[in-house]
């Protein structure tokens, strides 16, 4: 009797688990309830919350995993997750991860990134108006598009209007551009600024992107580290600027660098693209961080933007769908809304000041009477239009982030005068080879 009962119980359990399996299979067609997004700062989160959050289905939780970019921390953490992706529980899998221009290529040619069109289901027309270069970067060896971006990143020189008036006698973008249209002229203005006790640039790394974006060769050829002449130019210019006292010796992203933009700051200008204006410099100029984005709050509004001596682009963030995600429909909708939808992209541009990834919308805003409060009412989108078209990122490599970071750190000693140039190169190679053991000098 007891045995019979036990058998019955076992049978019931078996049937129960069978049916449970069955219902799980049906569940797989449904979307997951957790959307895991991996990124390195709150830029995308801000845009997501402002322009998409209310469209997320009520039963889906958005889980942000934010790891800072510096020292490869973000990539290392993301790599761990991606390598575990197959074995992870559905709700723990990476659904969306963001990549930056400096290391986008590391992920493009891997099976971890989903094909935007084939796998996620966007149509060509959804992304037809996006800038070509943003798509070229994310296209893998087989011609598949692996990620989409909401922004294009042409850069300009963002100058302090009051200082320009003092040094050049004008703060009109057209006149300022005339004064800064070549490196020789830029140097001349730097000397004039110095004479009036201003710093032309904030620090060592400020002009770096202007040179590195105009590189004519890649950082790594085969497995050999390659130094482009543009990098040498940056080193020479920065050394001269430091010796002449044209810069404030600050390191990029440091508190000193930003304090040069405060209301009593002495820095003439910063190089940067659209996201730099709204996400970095804008907030840094405000005396009251929580205060209004308005003239009178620190140096907010006392800025203008010109193309500067040389066109360049800097950065860019792409949204990538991760293989193994169970939220494909949601990812598709996020991608379409945030990178394809003209109305959303126009709002991001006009409300946040970012230069967004839609040629048509940007051209329209460029012609409109849009004015940016931070840039003293200037329509900076129109300043960017021309350079956006000519962005060429064909010399990117998967190693750019490590190279940039190690170069800046090694050469800050040289600019500080503590070591010779040769020693700085030695330190650079040592650090890079520690980071990428597969490369050779």
């Amino acid at each position: 009797m007891k045995k019979a009962l036990l058998l019955c119980v076992l049978a019931a359990l078996a049937i129960g688990s069978l049916s449970a399996n069955g219902s799980q299979d049906e569940m797989a067609v449904e979307e997951g309830k957790v959307l895991n997004i991996h990124c390195w700062n709150t830029e995308f989160q801000d845009r997501f919350n402002a322009y998409y959050a209310d469209k997320v289905p009520a039963d889906v939780t958005v889980n942000w995993v934010i790891t800072p970019n510096a020292d490869n921390a973000y990539q290392n953490k993301l790599d761990e997750f991606l390598l575990q992706q197959e074995n992870a529980a559905a709700d723990d899998k990476v659904d969306i991860f963001l990549v930056e221009a400096d290391y986008a290529l590391k992920y493009v040619d891997t099976p971890y990134a989903l094909d935007v069109i084939g796998d996620i289901g966007l149509s060509e027309s959804d992304i037809a108006n996006q800038y070509g270069y943003t798509k070229d970067i994310m296209t893998d060896a087989d011609g598949l598009l692996k990620g989409v971006s909401w922004q294009a990143c042409p850069g300009g020189f963002i100058y302090r209007r009051s200082i320009a008036k003092d040094v050049l006698g004008t703060d009109d973008p057209v006149e300022v551009q005339k004064a800064l249209d070549s490196w020789e002229n830029f140097d001349k203005v730097a000397a004039q600024a110095k004479a009036k006790d201003y710093f032309m640039l904030s620090g060592y790394d400020d002009a770096f992107r202007v040179f590195s974006d105009n590189m004519t060769s890649k950082w790594v050829e085969g497995n050999k580290i390659n130094i482009d002449p543009a990098i040498e130019q940056w080193i020479d210019m920065t050394k001269t600027y430091t010796e002449m006292g044209y810069n404030n010796k600050a390191n990029l992203w440091s508190a000193e660098s930003w304090s040069g933009a405060a209301s009593d700051g002495r820095v003439f200008g910063y190089y940067g693209p659209g996201w730099f204006v709204d996400f970095c410099l804008g907030p840094a100029t405000k005396a009251d961080a929580d205060g209004e984005n308005a003239i009178g709050n620190g140096s907010y509004g006392d800025w203008g933007l010109v193309k500067g001596p040389q066109g360049f682009s800097w950065g860019g963030t792409w949204i990538v769908g991760a293989a193994g995600s169970d939220n494909l429909t949601l990812i598709k909708d996020i991608m379409i809304t945030l990178t394809g939808d003209e109305a959303t992209l126009k709002s991001i541009a006009t409300e946040m000041g970012d230069f967004t990834n839609n040629e048509k919308a940007m051209a329209e805003i460029g012609k409109s009477d849009y004015s940016n409060a931070f840039l003293g009412g200037q329509n900076h989108i129109s300043e960017f239009l021309e350079s956006a078209k000519s962005i060429d990122r064909s010399n990117m490599s998967p190693y750019d982030q490590g190279m940039t970071e190690k170069l800046m750190n090694s050469f800050s000693d040289y600019f500080n005068g503590t070591i010779s140039k040769d020693k700085a190169w030695d330190n650079f190679y040592t650090s890079v080879l520690e980071l990428y053991p597969n490369l050779t000098r």
């Binding site: 790599d79 508190a255 000193e256 053991p437 597969n438």
Partner: protein
Amino acid sequence: MHRLVLKRKKSISYSKWGYYFIAPFFIIYITFSLIPLLSTFYNSFFENYRVGLTQVGPEFVGLDNYVQILTESDVPRYAMNTIIMWILGFVPQIVISLLLALWFSSSNLKLKGLAFFKTVIYMPNLIMAAAFSMLFFTMFSDAGPINSILVSAGFTDDPVRFLTMKTTSRGLIAFMNFLMWYGNTTILLMAGIMGIDESLIEASRIDGASSIQIFTKIIFPLLLPILVYVMITSLIGGLQMFDVPQILTKGDGLPDRTTLTLIMYLNKHLFSRNFGLGGAVSTLIFILTAILSVFVYNMTMKNYYGENRNRKGGK
């Protein structure tokens, strides 16, 4: 019957309980220390790293990793950096701690509010090293509060760029380690001093010994084992110096890798998932630590045992 019971009792061994009680330590030691130690050693013979998302190796390369580290890298330099910064912090630490411990435990001075002072000097150790380092990074930055004070007080016209110079960077790291650990050392030394029989000190005082004589002839010799313990633990801690310089110098040991410690160097390899080279560096650090510890122990304890032996011989 009675005899039988006795016999049975005799056969019961209580010694096994001893093994049960020490078992947890050995189990934890083997899983968390010995196995990782051996696997580190094992890993050091392989080429094994990751580039992007592609794994290279593991492939057996014999002693190649050791050869590469000893010939191509600057490991001796990083070892010197570490030791210099440890000594810079340890010397003031032991002097001040010894002085404070003597005052705090002196039956002659009878200081008041000891509990308060003991807590206060221990405080810096409670702050996370990374946070402490971040605090110093901000305080001593070019536009930081220390520089504002120096400039406004008229000591200097231009801000002192502490973190761009070798001496000031190393000095700051040593100073931070000193601040973090002198409280801990003081408390250890106090325990040692209080373990010394008070009657010895009183007797010598009655015999007319000066404070200095009491210290050099009685306290110091009897305190030696504790001092050696403090020295060796501090040495091992010093060789493992990592979080303070890592945060203060952006992980690159700026300026010119002069503040790059051995563990920071190890971290660089582990951060790029280079387990082969990382293993080799770890093994070398292990050997170095062992040699230095034995050296310090023998050098200082020779006196202690020497004196004890003499005393016995005298009897």
